[in-house]
């Protein structure tokens, strides 16, 4: 049965190829449904794999490697094109294909008016394919391949509207940032090959515990380089600036790639390589620190943005920060659990935002919205559910996963008080910005009366409702997730820590955030102006995203361009080129000097001849 797993790759690939080659000949809606069917098929095959895994005992569920063909054989190095089926990859694939399927369906409604409908679905299928490669890869090489291919799909989809300059620039930024990550992973792969003589997960992870001492230099370097890739893909500080810009793409793209699946690949990577990361506790602290800092920074920026999608984007960064915090403190399956619930409610949030944007005729500024609860009831309800789940309202999906993270930030293997405190603050911020957004959008009165918002068609709202159901109930899957994934993480199931005090504080923080949002945005404008005035400098910094884009521009982009220009004009033209030309010129000068002898006067030639004769004769006589 595992041999069927190739279908997971094959189906989206077929969709991509046929839609991109024959895209114009497909009738419009057929293309969309075809793409959906491909992803749905992949989802079904994944379910099949799940069933297959369940038919085996937990210990046997690991390391089912399927090989298609040998990909390269070089001196002392060989690679097969093969995929790995184990609980982690199936779990991740369920999210990718499941949520992906819903978003595909949603896109049929959302992209209905677009001229390049089929191209969009081709790219979406490409993404699903690439993500499947990433998840299913059985070795680091194909991990990198998938890693870069999702970057490509993300690039294509961010820049889908090629006539929009900001989208084009955002796409390039995303791609380049991701290439930095790819290079990091590439070097990590070399180091892994150097130490293990293989790139296969199975070999490497088996050998890892004995190959290194904890905190060896090389294992630290390997894990750090892997992290460069993970951080770039998951938009963690300092490689995060592409994600907010990536919101220039169509909204379903943001939901699928930049919320539910691709950006969480970094978390997946850490979880996948847990055998390596366990050997490097320092790196684990780094992961947790970066995660929690990103959670705070992104959350704080998200509190003051006005673009509906950017708010959610910063929220995504912040939530991924939580996931990194979770895997960083050593509870991998908690991170994966949050990854799953986050996929549900964040996809829902984005799709809801898309529905709003769709209904508002492509308006994205929340200051121009308001009062949409009457015009768009389904969107309103589902958006509310998503917001509650994101804010961690008790008994929603987000509550369970986030509560476990905050708890483990203190009690986990590498947890400590600082992580916990920062996490709680981030939780509070989450509640605040989520409901700020919600209130701005749906409550109050409409700020642009001329707009005629309307509810989206069923093809868009149906996925919303399904996701809403998952966001409400997904939290109860927690124990199942932990037990299902435990073989991958060495049989460990995260302990449940009964620490009512911490739990109450965390919930209180979330509630506090929500209440603060209510206090500021539901009770009139005065408080808002007052708060802005009081905190003006902080507000400015937050509004401008801590000026990180500007700093990067000043520190990296401009110097790179300047040095490039400098090298072209100085080093190339005046240095190398000039010196080569100068050699030629000097040769010419010397020959011009010698050419005095070539006077053109016969008598001097004759004289030279005589002189030559004399010399030769002298030589003959005296030697």
């Amino acid at each position: 049965m595992y041999s069927l797993s190739w279908l997971i790759l094959l189906l989206p690939l077929t969709g991509f190829l046929s839609l991109s080659w024959f895209g114009k000949r497909f009738p419009k809606l057929l293309g969309g449904w075809f793409a959906c069917a491909m992803v749905g098929g992949a989802f079904l095959v994944t379910l099949l794999m799940l069933a297959q895994l369940y038919s085996e005992s937990p210990a046997d569920r690991l390391n089912h490697v399927q090989t298609l063909y040998p990909w390269i054989v070089s001196e002392g190095f060989s690679l097969n094109l093969s995929i790995l089926i184990d609980p982690l990859s199936v779990f991740m694939l369920l999210i990718v294909t499941g949520v992906g399927f819903l978003i595909h369906v949603y896109s049929i409604g959302y992209m209905h008016h677009d001229k390049e409908f089929n191209r969009f679905f081709a790219y979406m299928n490409l993404f699903i394919f690439a993500m499947s490669v990433l998840v299913l890869a059985a070795d680091f090489f194909f991990l990198i391949v998938g890693w870069a291919l999702v970057g490509l799909a993300s690039y294509l989809l961010i820049g889908f509207w090629t006539e929009k300059k900001s989208a084009v620039l955002a796409a390039r930024k995303a791609f380049v940032m991701n290439v930095i990550g790819d290079v990091g992973m590439l070097i990590a792969a070399f180091m892994i090959f150097e130490h293990f003589g293989s790139l296969n997960y199975v070999d490497v992870f088996k050998a890892a515990p004995t190959a290194f001492f904890p905190n060896d230099d090389s294992i630290l370097l390997i894990t750090f380089l892997l992290l460069v890739g993970a951080f770039a893909k998951s938009a963690q500080i300092p490689l995060h600036t592409w994600l907010p810009d990536a919101m220039e793409g169509p909204t379903p793209v943001s939901a699928l790639i930049h919320a539910a699946t691709m950006v969480t690949a970094g978390v997946y990577l850490v979880a996948r390589c847990n055998a390596l990361f366990t050997m490097a506790p320092f790196t684990m602290y780094l992961i947790a620190s970066v995660g929690v800092i990103t959670a705070i920074v992104a959350g704080s920026i998200g509190m003051v943005q006005y673009d509906i999608k950017r708010v959610i984007a910063y929220s995504t960064m912040s939530q991924i920060g939580f996931m990194f915090l979770a895997v960083g403190v050593g509870v991998y399956s908690v991170g994966m659990f949050h990854l799953m619930t986050h996929a549900f409610f964040k996809a829902l949030l984005f799709l809801g935002a898309g529905s709003v944007i769709h209904g508002m005729a492509d308006e994205q500024d929340i200051r121009k919205m308001g009062g949409l609860r009457y015009a768009m009831p389904i969107t309103f309800i589902t958006f509310l559910i998503a917001s509650l789940a994101l804010a961690g309202f008790p008994l929603t999906a987000g509550f369970f996963s986030k509560e476990e993270i905050v708890m483990n930030a203190y009690h986990g293997q590498y947890g400590n008080f600082v992580f916990w405190g920062l996490a709680v603050i981030a939780v509070g911020m989450t509640g605040f910005y989520t409901f700020r957004l919600f209130f701005y959008t749906f409550m109050g009165k409409s700020r642009t009366p001329e707009a005629k918002p309307h509810e989206s068609p069923l093809v868009m709202t149906a996925p919303l409702m399904i996701l809403a159901g998952l966001s409400l109930l997904g939290g109860f899957l927690g124990p199942w997730v932990h037990s299902f994934l435990s073989p991958v993480f060495g049989g460990a199931v995260p302990m449940h820590h009964d620490d009512a005090m911490l739990e109450i504080i965390a919930v209180a923080a979330a509630m506090g955030g929500i209440i603060a949002a209510v206090a500021i945005y539901m009770t009139g404008k005065d408080q808002l102006a007052f708060a802005k005035q009081m905190l003006a400098p902080i507000y400015e910094a937050l509004y401008n995203k801590y000026y990180i884009d500007e700093i990067y521009d000043f520190l990296i982009v401009k110097p790179v361009k300047a040095i490039g220009k400098f090298m072209e004009e100085r080093a190339e033209k005046l240095g190398i080129d000039f010196s080569v030309d100068e050699v030629g010129r000097q040769v010419r000068e010397v020959s011009r000097g010698i050419s005095i002898w070539q006077s053109g006067k016969v008598r001097i030639y004759a004289l030279n001849m005589v002189a030559g004769m004399v010399t030769i004769l002298l030589f003959v006589i005296f030697m």
């Binding site: 004289l607 004399v614 004769l617 002298l618």
Partner: protein
């Protein structure tokens, strides 16, 4: 010289000795004349005199050839060289007009003179090499006397040196063709061409 004076002193003069004496003094006199004539060639300002001196030089050399048993070449020298070639020279001089040349002792000429002086010195040094071991041939003057100079040369030329001889004829042919092609085409004056 000493030998000659010795013999003169002892009055031991027989026919051979006198004949040898006479021949040697002839060589000496004619050789000196030839050198003087050649000096005349290069020192005369007007080419016409140079040409005349050259004729003189050639005739002198032809006489020397006679003294060295090369009658055929002497005749050739006079007929071809002093005759035909020099006539050619004179024609050209007549055609182009003989313009007198200023004599000057420029740095270049001084260098030339010193170099040539050196060369002359070196050539004279070759006289001091002394006795070398000569490889004597079979063609003694007596043999030549028997068959005659022209015939001996002819035999030699057509037997042992046939290839150079044929090549020489080829050379003359090429020269003839060259001259014809030079004479055939008219040239535009070079002056009008601008130098680049």
């Amino acid at each position: 010289m000493m030998e000659f004076l010795d013999q003169l002193w002892s009055f031991n003069l027989d026919r051979e000795t006198v004949y040898g004496l006479f021949q040697q003094s002839l060589v000496f006199i004619i050789g000196m004349t030839a050198i003087l004539a050649s000096l005349g060639v290069i020192l005369c300002a007007s080419p016409i005199y140079s040409a005349l001196y050259l004729i003189g030089n050639m005739v002198c050399l032809a006489m020397l050839f006679l003294l060295f048993n090369a009658e055929f070449l002497a005749v050739v020298q006079v007929v071809v060289y002093a005759g035909a070639v020099m006539i050619l020279f004179l024609f050209i001089i007549a055609l182009l007009g003989s313009k007198e040349e200023k004599r000057e002792l420029s740095f270049q000429n001084f260098t030339a003179l010193s170099f040539v002086g050196l060369l002359f010195g070196e050539l004279l040094m070759s006289m001091m090499v002394g006795e070398t071991k000569p490889v004597l041939g079979q063609v003694t003057p007596e043999v030549v006397q028997q068959v005659g100079s022209a015939k001996a040369i002819g035999i030699e030329l057509f037997s042992n040196h046939i290839v150079p001889f044929e090549l020489a004829s080829l050379l003359l042919l090429v020269a003839a063709v060259g001259i014809i092609s030079l004479a055939k085409f008219s040239y535009k004056p070079l002056r009008k061409r601008t130098r680049t």
